[in-house]
Symmetry: C2
Subunit: 361 residues, 2 copies
DNA sequence: GACGTCGTTGAGAACGTTCTCAATTCGACG
DNA sequence: CGTCGAATTGAGAACGTTCTCAACGACGTC
């Protein structure tokens, strides 16, 4: 009754409301709140008070229309249920929030078509930039297009040679080589590698897709390098790779364990594969590490809780995500330099899953 | 040279561009593309062709300003790195995308202040609705405010009695009771429960926070009910609860295992706690299930791969998320009925982690 | 006292849509 | 032949900001 009551109940207060309450124009109110231009201390205070009184919150949509910035990032990963990506995503959201950004999430299940669709959706939503763990190495036209159109892209965990984008990865080759060396040092000679690469091609053709992700390839190369160093020339005898959604790591491992001369150690290229390896070992009645040594990428929470505790190549998952955000944000906020490729260190954590090879078997 | 070239290189095509190309007004072009109002087949086709030629994509921000809809959902969970929430989030993003929505993600680490901040940020971003696993049961004013302001909220995994919002949960009481019954049936009488409830209060006061989440409480009640059924009146002897970020489940378990009459079975209220239990058991030199039977909520991928495989109460994690999205979307798109409380079934999966109590110890 | 400068202010355009409304056309019907 | 109604169309407002620009007054300097 006392004052003009029209806004308090209805929709949220807008800038004109604040301006009216403070007795200034929209322009001055906007300047006072956004803190640019020049506003007298008196006006600034009146606007501040009016905004607080009305519980004013600027409409980010309207702001975005003008500024062209949404302060939203898109994160495109293979599968949030994979502990590696869960950790990375956690790092992304935390770093993004600290930098004043929110994160829109999309999963691809390693499918390029899904990735393309996700990029489309996120660009429609006008994200300021994209953090992508690309599902393919060469099929990246949609990423290049986004980048060229002013929506910067940073690659996470995986490289894409043709793309002039920043990337944040780890030294997969070195880390894999180091891990296999540990197995060699323990006396193993028959060391297997189990991995999943690429997705099943549309036609049910040959083994792996022709365009697999760099990470897996580098780990395999590191494995081969370590074997060669040890004088083992036939590096692919115990190498088993399948494709996502088609092969099961447990089956690949089972096949290995049924060989006349089965491996005495297995190197899994990620934690999901390690679970398959463990499962297959259990089904074959083999004990880890007495009958079979096991090493894997990714220090998941279960790796240090189960019996035996698993030796792992620990990746700095959260930092991976955080660094990607930092690269992306600095790119969004105007830095134009040549693409930078950040490579973070991994750490080998020795636990109980490595033992000398079982001489009996 | 032939046609007027001004848009193709520069910024993306807008509706006026399409209208000009098709020789109609903005209004007609908009109608043709959005499919409302009435447009002649001829004009519709010309607009469609023009849009395709120019690669037109409607600016969602501008659209949102008018319609008040962003087709974006906010998901607020405790921690995406917890496999339960990872699964739920996966269900949310998949269902959301199928319904034409994107998902903005936020973590709270079970902290109400962080939750409040997240709600604020997400509402600033004008999400159409919120899916929240609330960090507290009664401190939900920010959620009530959002709901009242036309930003519908659906509760996930946890109830909040004072809040007139939809919820999607499981029958925690029944599931816990069932799990404990299985342990009783195996002959156990000294059955422990280990759980984490609420967050540490600002002052470093008493044991657990005064406002813990419903889920944990219900599981504890189910545990007590089962014990009472079996004639065990002293239901809290082996009950150990801590608070997030302060107590470590492994320590709580270690304490239990050091008791003069230690428990012969442990019920963990989630997978992260189960890891602590397993870890403590290993440190005490106890074998599962020979010396200690273990049961937990959440069927994580490691539970069925480790040795022994762990018996679990499996929650339909993805469906939990999907149902939350469906409730939320139908609420967003206009349904106004009384809050509905969806309760999904859990499934007890018997594996190798339960054995009769060890008579020796 | 004239002039330039600086600080402050408001009018108004812009962003790219959706949507209301009035105008126009055309066929049908009385 | 006049009129009603339906179908189609375009002009223009609206959404809530940011930002450019010109205007205005005060102040210092010559």
């Amino acid at each position: 009754m006392t004052t003009n009551r029209r806004k308090p109940a209805g929709r949220p207060a807008t800038l004109p409301d604040v301006a009216r309450e403070a007795g200034v124009s929209r322009s001055t109110a906007s300047r006072a709140l956004a803190g640019y231009g020049s506003v007298s201390p008196d006006a600034r205070e009146r606007v501040r008070a009016a905004a607080e009184k009305l519980g004013y919150r600027a409409n980010q949509l309207a702001r975005s229309m003008i500024t062209g910035r949404t302060h939203t990032l898109g994160a495109i990963v293979a599968d949030i249920q994979n502990p590696f990506f869960a950790g990375v995503t956690r790092g992304i959201t935390d770093a993004a929030r600290a930098a004043g950004y929110q994160v829109l999430l999309a999963n691809t299940d390693e499918d390029v078509a899904a990735e393309r669709a996700a990029v489309k959706m996120l660009r429609d939503k006008h994200v300021d930039g994209l953090i992508v763990a690309p599902a393919a190495t060469t099929e990246t036209a949609h990423l290049a297009a986004a980048h060229a159109a002013g929506c910067p892209v940073v690659l996470l965990d995986r490289q894409a040679p043709g793309l002039p984008a920043d990337s944040v990865t780890v030294d997969n080759h070195g880390a894999a080589q180091d891990a296999v060396r540990r197995l060699l040092a323990a006396g193993h000679r028959r060391i297997a590698l189990v991995s999943l690469l690429g997705t099943a091609p549309a036609d049910g053709a040959g083994a792996a897709s022709s365009d697999p992700v760099s990470t897996g390839l580098e780990r395999i190369e590191g494995y081969r390098t370590a074997l060669r160093e040890a004088g083992l020339t036939d590096t692919d005898t115990y190498l088993r790779t399948g494709t996502f959604h088609r092969e099961d790591p447990a089956d690949l491992t089972a096949e290995l364990l049924s060989l006349p001369e089965p491996p005495t150690a297995v190197f899994a290229t990620d934690s999901m594969i390690a679970l398959g390896v463990l499962s297959a070992a259990r089904d074959h009645g083999l004990r880890v590490p007495e009958h079979l040594s096991v090493v894997t990428f990714d220090d998941t929470d279960w790796a240090r809780a189960v019996r035996p505790r698993i030796s792992v190549v620990a990746q700095p998952v959260q930092e991976l995500g955080a660094r990607a955000v930092h690269s992306l944000v600095s790119r969004i906020e105007g830095t134009t330099h040549a693409p930078e490729h950040i490579v973070l260190d991994t750490e080998f954590i020795t636990r109980e899953s490595i033992a000398p090879p079982c001489t009996g078997a």
